[in-house]
Symmetry: C2
Subunit: 267 residues, 2 copies
Amino acid sequence: MRRKITGFSNPLIKRVRSLREKKHRRRENKFIAEGLRILTEAREAGYIPAIVFLEHGQEEHPLAAILCDAIESNGGDIIETSRAIIAKISGKDNAQMLVGVFDDIDVKLSDINRNDADIWMAVQDMRDPGNLGTMMRTCDAVGGGGLFLIDDCTDPFSVEAVRASMGAVFTQKIIKCTWDEFIAWKESGSGQLIGTSLNTDNDYQAVEYQTPAFVLTGNEAQGLPQDYEQYCDILVKMPMKGKADSLNAAISSAVMSYEILNQIRKK
Amino acid sequence: MRRKITGFSNPLIKRVRSLREKKHRRRENKFIAEGLRILTEAREAGYIPAIVFLEHGQEEHPLAAILCDAIESNGGDIIETSRAIIAKISGKDNAQMLVGVFDDIDVKLSDINRNDADIWMAVQDMRDPGNLGTMMRTCDAVGGGGLFLIDDCTDPFSVEAVRASMGAVFTQKIIKCTWDEFIAWKESGSGQLIGTSLNTDNDYQAVEYQTPAFVLTGNEAQGLPQDYEQYCDILVKMPMKGKADSLNAAISSAVMSYEILNQIRKK
């Protein structure tokens, strides 16, 4: 259904705006994604928002028109509103002029076929939503299958994570699990769990990786707990030529994943 | 000099807190950096804060004691204060219990010896402070010499950029310049300017890079302006196996820089 909302105090606006907070996302089992580019990625991946908010005139863009048609066919709502209200929902001054409300995407370990992709990422206690979203984007770029969010990770459906993912939150499988669940699942089939560590002499380029490769990255500040390292099939390290002894988590997983992709490309 | 401040309304606290805003950093020609790890990197690189704020008891940590000695020898101020006041300065609830105030670091193009390092980064219109800080950190990791901040980049001395740099803001040369200044300087000596682009068929792994290598990355949303591409000595692209057609700017420059480092390592 198409309708207009002009008032800031409209209860739907308040409710959608509240989805910027995790407790409300939990309660509603919904999340928001912004921007025509990300919403188009979503549509192409088969995810149609239940509601879209757009500024008057936006629906004339060809991709927005296709999106609106898909929402209407699906029985969803298209709400024309003001730029100021969209900025209020998004929490950004230079908000994208299109905000969609999506149902939570719930993927279970048992739903995953590890042979769907050669590369997967696994992150443990990842706390920064920008890092997590960027990792989703990189995992998409290397043709990865998805990300295992192990232990206490930041919410992959937060506004910041979705934004940084540039739509990869819809194309990558996102699986929340505990370490024990992940290890039990991983050991029930093929594949190599690859950890980056300071406690090894294995240069990351000297190893021949096997697929499916699971690239494991620990918490931004602490890295991987040391007793988790023994579960890895291989530990590797990247050359560090400067003063620092570590890379940003999203960078480290990207450099690692591109090495694996490059090895696959050479085969 | 060592002293204590207990009041939130102390004018020095207000002044230092104001350094979180760019206009105040500009006016004072100072910036803040937080945390013992980053302040130790700074000290080892020869940068001693003019003032440090620390929580009572913190000065007993061996590295904090070395830092405090260096500040005192330098005629700087050591200010003992409360955790709440430090959190107020830092703008973070879980603030690092140590905040230093540094004089601006001003590096000019003419100060740079390009042969000091094999790898340099150049960023154009980079807007996100987290991306910029992460790129400093990666540039340090590959043994890079520094970053050229071209055109209208985000402030490298913002709290967010300094934090993301993990101290590399002190170990990397940061040079602000225009595109014309950069190109004139670059062409006055040796080295290869490497752009990543969708407008090329050169696989980034199929090229033999020359040093000093200048890895150029454009704005997060727009990429490099197309008329800038002609100034690059080589354009390359990374494989993109997923739905998206680009990587995060910090990721792209890292994958590129590690490729160059890996080629150097093999020589």
